[in-house]
C-alpha cells in the first residue's frame, strides 16, 4: 500500500492479511452484532484456509466498515469480491430449506456514481468504493459482491451466528473458494 506500511504484515500479525496475490476478498461486518458480522466471519474462515495452504495467493481483509483507503488494495487486485450481510424480510433466512431460498451467488459489481454520501456519518458503499478506485486510479478490477441474507432480529449483541446464517457462512466460503480457483 501507498505508505510502504500497509503491504507488510505487522509484528503482531492477525493472519487476516495476504498481499500481492491479485485476488482480493473483503468481508464486511460487525462481529459483535450476531449475523451482521457474517461477512467478517467469512473472511476469517478464508484467511484460515490461506494460512493452511488450501488457498494460494489470495488476499483477505476483514473490515467493520468500508473506508476510503481500501481503494489501494482494490486497485492493486486483479479481481475482488466484497462480502456483506443484507437484511431480508424472511424471519430466519437459510434456517429452513423448505423456504426454498435461492443459493448464494456472486453479483457483478460495477462502479456506481455514489452521488449521495451519508450526511452525518462515515458510511461508504461497495459500488461507491469501486467508483472511488476508478476516479483515483483510472481503472478498477473486475468485482463482484456476495450478499448474505440475514434477519434483522438476529443483529443484537452477541458473537454467535444464528443456525441459518452459520449454514450460509459455509455456503459462502465454498462459493468463494471456487471463485478463487477459477480466477487463479
Amino acid at each position: 500500500m501507498g505508505t510502504g506500511l500497509g503491504g507488510r504484515r505487522g509484528n503482531g500479525a492477525s493472519g487476516l492479511r495476504r498481499h500481492g496475490a491479485g485476488r482480493l476478498v473483503i468481508g464486511i461486518g460487525n462481529s459483535l452484532r450476531q449475523d451482521d458480522g457474517v461477512g467478517w466471519r467469512v473472511a476469517e474462515v478464508l484467511a484460515a484456509r490461506v494460512e493452511a495452504g488450501a488457498l494460494a495467493q489470495l488476499e483477505v481483509l476483514a473490515v467493520q466498515q468500508l473506508t476510503p483507503e481500501l481503494v489501494e488494495p482494490i486497485a492493486a487486485a486483479s479481481a475482488v469480491v466484497l462480502v456483506d450481510a443484507v437484511i431480508t424480510a424472511v424471519p430466519n433466512p437459510g434456517a429452513d430449506a423448505s423456504l426454498g431460498l435461492p443459493p448464494l451467488h456472486l453479483d457483478p459489481l460495477r462502479p456506481a456514481s455514489a452521488s449521495a454520501r451519508a450526511p452525518l456519518t462515515h458510511h461508504a458503499t461497495s459500488a461507491g468504493l469501486l467508483s472511488l478506485t476508478t476516479a483515483l486510479h483510472g481503472t478498477c478490477p473486475s468485482a463482484w459482491q456476495l450478499l448474505i441474507p440475514i434477519a434483522s432480529a438476529c443483529t443484537g449483541f452477541g458473537e454467535e451466528l444464528s443456525p441459518g446464517t452459520s449454514a450460509r457462512l459455509a455456503e459462502a466460503v465454498e462459493l468463494l473458494t471456487a471463485w478463487a480457483h477459477r480466477h487463479a
Partner: protein, 483 residues
C-alpha cells in the same frame, strides 16, 4: 395558551453508525425555537460486557466502533492496568502513545479530507450529487489523493504495531503484547516526511479558505461560549493519553480562559460530571455537575484540547497553535475551527511520533507487566480523536465484569451539537420552505464535531435523508428528501 408549533424533521438513518435525525422546532411566528439532534439507536454494550473477564474488554470494546477502535482499546487497557494495580513498562507506555497518535492522525484525515473538505471547496449550495469525495476528486484530485495517503499512513502505523488496522487487540492490561522491531520502526519513520508534507499543504489551503471565503461559517456554525474539557500534561502541555499521573489530569476552562478546574482525576469523574437524559435521544448529555446542565455544558475534542493546553510542545504545531489563537482568541469558541484544530493536531501527532521513534528505548522488549486482580473498580481515560473517553469497570474477585460505564466523546459534544444546529437553523431558515442550502449547512454544522455513532449493526439498510415540515395543525407542509 401556548403558541402553535411546526416541526421540521431531518431524518438520516444510516447503515453503519447508528440512527440519527434532526428536528427543527418552529414557533407560531415561523421562527426557529430550538433544534434537536436525536440519536435513536440504543447502545447496549455495557450490558453485553457483564460477566466477561476484564482482560477481554480491550478486544471487545475495540469492536464497538469501526472508526475509532484504538481509542476504546487504549482506554480499556488503561482501566485494566488499574485493576492489576501495575505500572506498565515505560516502553509499553510509549508504544501506546504511538498508536494513539496514529489513530488521531488517520481519524482526523478522514474527517477533514473526505467528509468536510468537499463542503469547503465546492460550496454549500453546490449540487449534492457533486458535493462529495468524487466532486473533490474532480476539483482537486491531489487533495483527495493526499487525504487517502495520510489516512493510509495512520492506519499503516496501527497495523504495524497491532497486526490489524481494525480491532487490534494489542494493547492489553499491563502493557502491550508485542514490542516494536527496528525494521518496523524504520518503516514508520520512512512514511513521516510525506505525511508532514500533506498536512502542511492542507493547513495552507484551509487557512487561505478561512481568510477568503469562510468568514460567515466562523460566526454561524456553532459559535458560542461554553466550557471545554480534556486532558492536559505537566505544565499544561497538550496531552492525549495519560490520565491523573505525573502532573497530568483533566482540566476544564471557560470561554474567557479561566481554569474552572484542574488536576481532576478520572477516578473521580462521577463527582464532577453528571449525565442528563432526554426522552428524545439515547445519547446522554454530560455536564459539569457543579454548574448544572445548562452552564455546565462543555465541548471536547481537538478544539477543546487546543483551548485547554498552554502549548503543544513541538515546534511546528506550536507555531500553528499561536496562529489559531491569533485568529480565534486564546480560547476559540467557533466550532467551525474544529476543522483547523484537527489539522494542527495531525501536525502535533506527526512531530510526537517522530520524537518517539527517535527514542532508542522504543524498541526495548520489556513491554508487559503481569499481575492478578488487585483492585475491584477502576476508571481509565484516554483522548480519542473526538474527545475524552472514559471506561469505568467494576469486577468480582475473579476479574469478571459486574458493571461497565462508558462515557464517549460524541456524547459529551451532544449539547454543543444541538446548540450548533439551532444557531444554523435560526440564521438560514426562512419561511416554511426547506432548501438544500439549509440542509447542507445543518449537516455541516454537525460535521464540525465529526460525531461517531458507530455502535449500531451495519446491515439495517441505508435510508434516505428526509426533511419534513409539519404545521401546527399536524399537516405536512413540505418535504425534502435526499436519496
Amino acid at each position: 395558551m401556548a403558541p402553535p408549533r411546526r416541526t421540521i424533521t431531518i431524518d438520516p438513518v444510516t447503515r453503519i453508525e447508528g440512527h440519527a435525525k434532526i428536528t427543527i422546532q418552529l414557533d407560531a411566528a415561523g421562527a426557529v425555537e430550538t433544534a434537536r439532534f436525536h440519536v435513536t439507536e440504543y447502545r447496549g454494550f455495557e450490558k453485553f460486557c457483564e460477566g466477561r473477564p476484564f482482560t477481554e474488554m480491550a478486544a471487545i470494546t475495540a469492536r464497538i466502533c469501526g472508526i475509532c477502535p484504538v481509542s476504546h482499546l487504549l482506554a480499556a487497557a488503561k482501566t485494566g492496568d488499574k485493576i492489576l494495580a501495575v505500572t506498565i513498562p515505560p516502553t509499553a507506555e510509549k508504544l501506546r502513545r504511538l498508536m494513539n497518535l496514529a489513530q488521531i492522525t488517520q481519524s482526523h484525515a478522514l474527517s477533514f479530507f473526505h467528509l468536510s473538505s468537499p463542503d469547503f471547496l465546492l460550496g454549500w449550495d453546490s449540487d449534492p450529487a457533486r458535493r462529495n469525495v468524487f466532486g473533490l476528486i474532480a476539483a482537486n484530485p491531489d487533495l483527495a489523493r493526499a487525504g487517502i495517503r495520510l489516512r493510509q499512513f495512520g492506519q499503516g502505523v496501527i497495523e504495524a504495531l497491532g497486526g490489524r488496522k481494525i480491532h487490534a487487540a494489542w494493547s492489553v492490561p499491563g502493557g502491550v503484547r508485542e514490542p516494536l522491531g527496528e525494521e518496523t520502526r524504520d518503516r514508520i519513520s520512512a512514511g513521516l516526511p510525506e505525511a508532514f508534507a500533506i498536512t502542511e499543504r492542507a493547513l495552507g489551503l484551509f487557512k487561505t479558505l478561512l481568510d477568503t471565503q469562510l468568514g460567515e461559517e466562523l460566526e454561524v456554525f456553532g459559535s458560542f461560549p461554553s466550557l471545554f474539557l480534556g486532558l492536559v500534561g505537566p505544565g499544561g502541555l497538550w496531552e492525549h493519553h495519560r490520565g491523573a499521573e505525573a502532573g497530568c489530569g483533566i482540566r476544564i476552562v471557560d470561554s474567557d480562559g479561566q481554569i474552572v478546574a484542574d488536576g481532576l482525576r478520572e477516578d473521580d469523574y462521577a463527582s464532577f460530571l453528571a449525565e442528563a437524559v432526554e426522552p428524545w435521544s439515547y445519547l446522554k448529555f454530560p455536564y459539569v455537575r457543579a454548574l448544572g446542565p445548562e452552564a455546565g455544558s462543555y465541548r471536547v475534542g481537538p478544539l477543546a484540547r487546543l483551548n485547554l493546553c498552554e502549548r503543544i510542545g513541538t515546534e511546528q504545531a506550536d507555531r500553528e497553535l499561536l496562529e489559531l489563537r491569533q485568529r480565534g482568541g486564546r480560547v476559540v469558541t467557533a466550532s467551525f475551527l474544529y476543522h483547523l484544530a484537527r489539522l494542527i493536531e495531525i501536525l502535533a501527532c506527526l512531530e510526537q511520533m517522530q520524537q518517539l521513534l527517535d527514542d532508542p528505548t522504543i524498541t526495548a522488549t520489556h513491554v508487559r507487566a503481569r499481575a492478578g486482580v488487585n483492585a475491584h473498580e477502576a476508571v481509565g481515560v484516554s483522548e480519542a480523536p473526538r474527545g475524552t473517553l472514559f471506561h469505568h469497570y467494576r469486577v468480582d474477585e475473579n476479574g469478571l465484569i459486574e458493571a461497565v460505564n462508558l462515557i464517549i466523546a460524541t456524547g459529551q459534544n451532544n449539547g454543543a451539537m444541538n446548540r450548533t444546529v439551532t444557531q444554523i437553523a435560526r440564521h438560514y431558515l426562512s419561511g416554511e420552505r426547506l432548501t438544500e442550502g439549509l440542509l447542507n449547512r445543518v449537516e455541516a454544522g454537525i460535521r464540525c464535531f465529526d460525531p461517531c455513532l458507530s455502535c449500531s449493526t451495519h446491515a439495517a439498510g441505508q435510508m434516505p435523508l428526509l426533511v419534513e415540515l409539519v404545521g401546527a395543525d399536524g399537516q405536512l407542509r413540505d418535504v425534502l428528501r435526499r436519496d
